[in-house]
């Protein structure tokens, strides 16, 4: 007993038929296509085996688009980081090797991960910067919490904090090894090798701005 289903009525909508891919006999037989695929695999196999034996692998960075084993054997080979790579932070220094930072707390406020802790303090008596600027008694960054967004660098008005060390935080054994103190942050160099800030502080009484001193800050 067979059931005949009614035919689907012709729809009046104007439709464009979708071209379905059809297989010709050569494709249906599978074997020619399989052999073509195997040929591609074999070409790569013999070329790569020869390269591995002779030690002539392509350069993983400069020839990374070639056919061949272009995998980087980290840690023996490392891809250099790009120019604007945001790495571990560093505190820039003034000419007298004191930190450029004035403890304004802009960076710790801007940080989305709240990984910067600053304790501000007054300069000791007799220092000519006392009452005019503060300095960071404690400057602690938890590199594990940091998300390396760079907002702290953008927020700093004095070019006191930078992320141009070109290093990434290496894997440590415990979380407290990621907490970097002020001395450690001041000891890092940028990838060019400099530690000085690009925004030198002009003290009141400097010859660069004659006529300005602490009592008369503006012309």
């Amino acid at each position: 007993m067979s059931t005949t289903f009614p035919k689907k009525p012709q729809s009046s909508a104007k439709v464009a038929p979708v071209p379905r891919p059809t297989h010709d006999l050569r494709e249906k037989a599978y074997l020619p296509e399989i052999l073509a695929g195997v040929g591609v695999s074999m070409k790569h196999f013999f070329m790569n085996t020869r390269d591995m034996i002779k030690g002539q692998r392509p350069d993983p960075v400069l020839e990374r688009l070639d056919d061949g084993v272009t995998a980087i054997s980290y840690p023996e080979q490392k891809r250099p980081y790009p120019e604007r790579f945001r790495g571990v932070h560093r505190l820039t220094l003034r000419e007298d090797q004191s930190p450029r930072c004035v403890a304004c707390l802009c960076c710790s406020t801007a940080c989305p991960a709240q990984c910067i802790f600053i304790e501000a303090g007054e300069y000791p008596e007799g220092d000519k910067r006392r009452g005019y600027e503060k300095y960071p008694v404690k400057f602690v960054i938890d590199e594990l919490r940091c998300i390396f967004c760079g907002y702290c660098v953008e927020a700093c008005p004095c070019d006191a904090i930078r992320m141009d060390t070109g290093m990434h935080a290496v894997p440590y054994d415990s979380r407290d090894q990621f907490i970097y103190e002020k001395d450690l942050l001041m000891s890092f160099e940028s990838i060019d090798g400099t530690r000085e800030t690009a925004n030198p502080r002009h003290e009141p009484g400097d010859p660069t701005h004659p006529g300005l001193d602490r009592e008369h800050a503006h012309h």
């Binding site: 695999s41 392509p58 350069d59 020839e63 891809r79």
Partner: protein, 463 residues
Amino acid sequence: MTGMQVVWTLIKIVLMLAVIINLAALLTWYDRRGSAMMQDRVGPNRAVIKIFGKEIRLAGTLHAAADGIKFFTKEDFMPPKADRLLFAIAPILAVASVLALIATIPMADTICPTNLWRSVTKDGSTFTIFPAVQRWGSCVADPKNGVFPIDMAVAPLNVGVLYVFAIAGQGIIGAAIAGWSSDNKFSLMGALRAASQMVSYEVTMGMSLIGAMMIYGSVRLDDMVRWQGENAWGIFVQPFAFFLFFAAAVAETKRIPFDLPEAESELVSGYFTEYSGMKFGMFYLAEYMEVVTSSMLIVTIFLGGWQLPFLHRDGITIELGAAKVAHVAMPHIWVSILGVVAFFVKVILMCWIQAFVRWSLPRFRYDQLMTLGWKILLPASLVNILVTGVLWLALEKAGPAATDALRLAGNITQAVVAVLATYFLARVVVGMFGTRPKERFVVGSAAERAQAQGGTQSSAMQA
């Protein structure tokens, strides 16, 4: 059975077991390394061994050794509600059937022990000579001294290939029991698929060999190889059956593209999900040992077993039809050693072919797999039997001219094999001296910095 025969049998057993188990372990390494070479990756290369303070990395083969250590030292966990006896027996069944299969496969032609080497005294000094044997006829046996001709299969049975099929059918039980006793629905599904797949392709395996049995005139494996040595290799007289048998053997051993029972993305590990430690190791190695075993079978039946083109028991005889072009006599011991070496080289080649087929093809869906087995391969093997039978009868009635033409064609195929093998070897050797074309692509500051350094820096391996 004399002492000599016992000693020879033990040597053969040790040789076959050593080859098959070591080849299986090396195949686990090659699966990873060869696939990496095909896919532009590096593959396993980090396992080192320190010898005299120097670190040696053997291209990653130590990873296979590390796998072995892992199998021995992992906890042997049995699921709480699993059937204890069946759970423990299933891997044993799987491995036992594979190891029992290799007993009938011949490694070389029959060895005449009296003709291997002989001490000859001449002018007062003794030296050893290596005599040759004649091409036709059998060895000289010396029953008084217990010297018999030695067949180079562990157990040269009269039923030959039928024993192979019987034992291959036992492997199905191991897979089915493993899935059932694991108390895991996914394992059970994997076991169901495995059992039905293996049963389906078992039929095709048998049917596709009937044409070969008709042509060779025997079910004994060493008779098949001798026929191929005198005439043409099996792949030339039965090319269709070669493909059918190859596909059926790959499906029988549950290799990709037929590995749905152990599909990693679908069934975790299929029927051996719940196994760990040495039980899993036995299943894992059993799969690779099955690759080696099926390669040995294919080599014996279709690729000429231990035969090299034009090499016979008395040496190399290049003849084309009725004309004998050249003859170089070789001692019996050399012919035997060459036979063994040729057999294992061909087995390794066939394993290599199975390995790269594995990395080239996607997996069959289950219904496609069953359709292929029952609706395409089985009728194709029946058609193969029909065509082989018709052609065989026609050639028998055709007369001596056809026989001579066939003999010439057989010799031409042997010459073609020799020439092709030499060509490919030469091409590989010549290709080793080439260099690859390199195209520098310096875009982006990272690449520019790398170029300023003079290429990506490499340093010695750091701890």
